[in-house]
């Protein structure tokens, strides 16, 4: 049984008001421990609502959520404990920074878990380095940082808790390309090193393609598909119809195939694309 499992999970906002909205509709999921999953879906498809169930921030309107085999909300006294297993980095997390210094902000989670000062200090400095925050920034107020710098602080704060499941809601939105690559690289590294299950919500098909092994596609509050990367990106037309797309290089090679260039490969990365062109050229010359 997977580390995150849902049974007929449904969530309704504004029940009994004219704005009643079923944001998550009958979702059944089973996510294996150690998986790195991309979550994609059009604006308003229910991604943020869905993931907020995984650490008990939202309580299902109906249906159930199991984390590591334990049903959330079954026993209120266990909720806090289960929450430490699931670290959630929000959309625009930088607006939740509130401490006087960057250091204290990153320290908030680890301290809350009851780590000793020494242990927390080690983790704080280590994660700050990992996410690319220079040591001199640790004593600054988070309010003096740029948007991208704040983002790194927020991510570091959750990572420093070393949760079993790490969920990030659009962690690279607003980051510059180097920052984007760094955060994605860091997520992959963190995943490889700690075996953490990672859920990554993103609107960048490029980021998803280069980071994850499986993809969950949300469409209009429902799961459209949960499968490996190539099966999902093979459905370019369906994805486009629901507001999504495939990575730019994938699109380039889909178009070349449609124009009559023959190859069987599925292209998701620039390096692969380059090698493919060189191979096709060599075959052509022969």
């Amino acid at each position: 049984m997977g580390i995150i499992r849902t049974e007929d999970l449904t969530y309704v906002y504004g029940e009994g008001t004219p704005f009643r909205k079923t944001a998550v509709d009958g979702v059944n999921l089973d996510i294996e421990a150690g998986e790195i999953v991309g979550i994609i879906g059009h604006t308003g498809s229910g991604k943020s609502t869905l993931i907020q169930h995984f650490n008990g921030l939202l309580k299902p309107t109906s249906g159930k959520v199991f984390i590591d085999g334990e049903e959330l909300f079954a026993d209120k006294s266990r909720l806090k404990e289960i929450r430490f297993k699931v670290g959630l980095v929000f959309q625009y997390p930088e607006y939740q920074l509130f401490e006087e210094t960057v250091y204290k902000d990153i320290a908030f989670g680890p301290k809350n878990m009851g780590l000793t000062d020494g242990e927390a200090d080690k983790r704080i400095k280590e994660t700050a380095r990992l996410v690319g925050l220079k040591p001199e920034l640790l004593d600054k107020s988070p309010f003096e940082l740029s948007g991208g710098q704040k983002r790194r602080v927020a991510i570091a704060g959750v990572m420093a808790m070393e949760p079993k499941v790490l969920i990030l809601d659009e962690p690279t939105a607003g980051l510059d390309p180097r920052g984007r690559d760094r955060i994605l690289g860091l997520i992959k590294e963190y995943h490889a090193e700690k075996g953490t299950t990672v859920l990554l919500v993103s609107h960048s098909m490029e980021d998803v393609a280069k980071t994850v092994s499986k993809i969950l596609v949300m469409n209009d509050a429902k799961v459209f598909m949960y499968s490996d990367r190539s099966s999902v990106f093979a459905k370019a037309d369906e994805l486009t119809a629901m507001g999504l797309t495939v990575p730019q290089v994938t699109r380039v090679f889909d178009r070349l195939r449609a124009m009559g260039i023959e190859f069987d490969d599925e292209v998701f990365s620039i390096d692969y694309a380059k090698d493919l062109v060189l191979r096709l050229l060599a075959e052509k010359r022969r």
């Binding site: 308003g44 943020s48 991208g148 939105a173 180097r178 920052g179």
Partner: protein, 284 residues
């Protein structure tokens, strides 16, 4: 060409009161930039390079520490002109949460229009038009703070579209949008621009910048590059050295050039890339 925005040797510093003693952080260092009427300029730069600070100079939210900024001939220091300047330059801020002012979507979009004294019937028309433009018309009676991230972003964009300013400054307007939403906003921007609206687009998406008429690259409070997208993106090494990148199709073609394939080094659009690769790979 008629100059519309003139930034003349502008420096700007933040005073960090949180530090003890307070410190001064100079984030714009002698920036000079002219933007002509009707131009579409994309601004790139690493996180913290000063893009948002620069944008806020354009409608008097930030005033230069030294140097001057002129918008349509008005000095942004001139307090009597504040109202006109804000009418001339519409701004979509980096975080949509920070600009929600009303409790109902359509009131939020109408807010700025009421402030500048537009007729109620005209307000109604413009609000509906703007909400349709960003695909949020069905949400007009909803509460903005209860929308998803991308939906809030669309509302913020609608608010500025409804003002119909001569110049639109957008600070990462597509950061939270899905791919189609991003494409639609880019289409809207291009359309407005073709109708004569001056556009300044701050973005971290190289593909979006590739569609502008001109790309300005900031680095540590200074302007590093300024030119046509094809010219700017041919300098891949320099861009990467300042935390930026080139569009994926440019990266691919540059990789192929390094491997000895004969291709132009200024391919920045998907169409162009497909066409060139097709010519290369098609059967004789």
């Amino acid at each position: 060409m008629e100059k519309f925005i003139e930034i003349k040797d502008v420096s700007f510093s933040y005073i960090n009161d949180y530090d003890d003693p307070p410190t001064k952080n100079t984030v714009l260092k002698g920036v000079t930039l002219d933007i002509n009427k009707g131009e579409f300029v994309a601004v790139l730069g690493h996180n913290g390079s000063g893009k948002s600070t620069l944008a806020k100079l354009l409608n008097s939210i930030n005033l230069p520490e030294s140097g001057d900024v002129f918008v349509d001939g008005m000095n942004t220091r001139d307090e009597d002109k504040l109202y006109d300047i804000r009418r001339t330059v519409g701004m979509v801020f980096q975080n949509p949460d920070n600009q929600i002012v009303a409790t109902v979507v359509e009131e939020d979009v109408a807010f700025a229009l009421e402030n500048i004294g537009v007729e109620p019937s005209e307000i109604r028309k413009r609000v509906d038009w703007a909400l349709k433009k960003v695909g949020m018309y069905e949400y007009r009676e909803h509460a903005p703070h209860k929308l998803s991230g991308g939906q809030k972003q669309r509302i913020a964009i609608a608010g500025v579209l409804a003002m119909q300013p001569k110049c639109i400054v957008m600070d990462e307007p597509t950061a939270m949008l899905d791919p189609i939403g991003r494409r639609e906003i880019m289409q809207t921007i291009t359309e407005l621009n073709s109708e004569g609206v001056t556009v300044v687009l701050i973005t971290h998406y190289m593909e979006e910048a590739a569609r502008a008429g001109r790309v300005v690259v900031m680095d540590d409070g200074k302007i590093l590059l300024d030119g046509a997208p094809k010219k700017v993106f041919s300098q891949a090494e320099l861009l990467k050295s300042v935390g930026l990148d080139v569009p994926d199709v440019t990266d691919l073609t540059h990789g192929l050039i390094r491997a000895g394939i004969d291709l132009p080094d200024d391919i920045i659009s998907e169409d162009e890339c497909v066409e060139r690769l097709y010519q290369l790979l098609k059967k004789e």
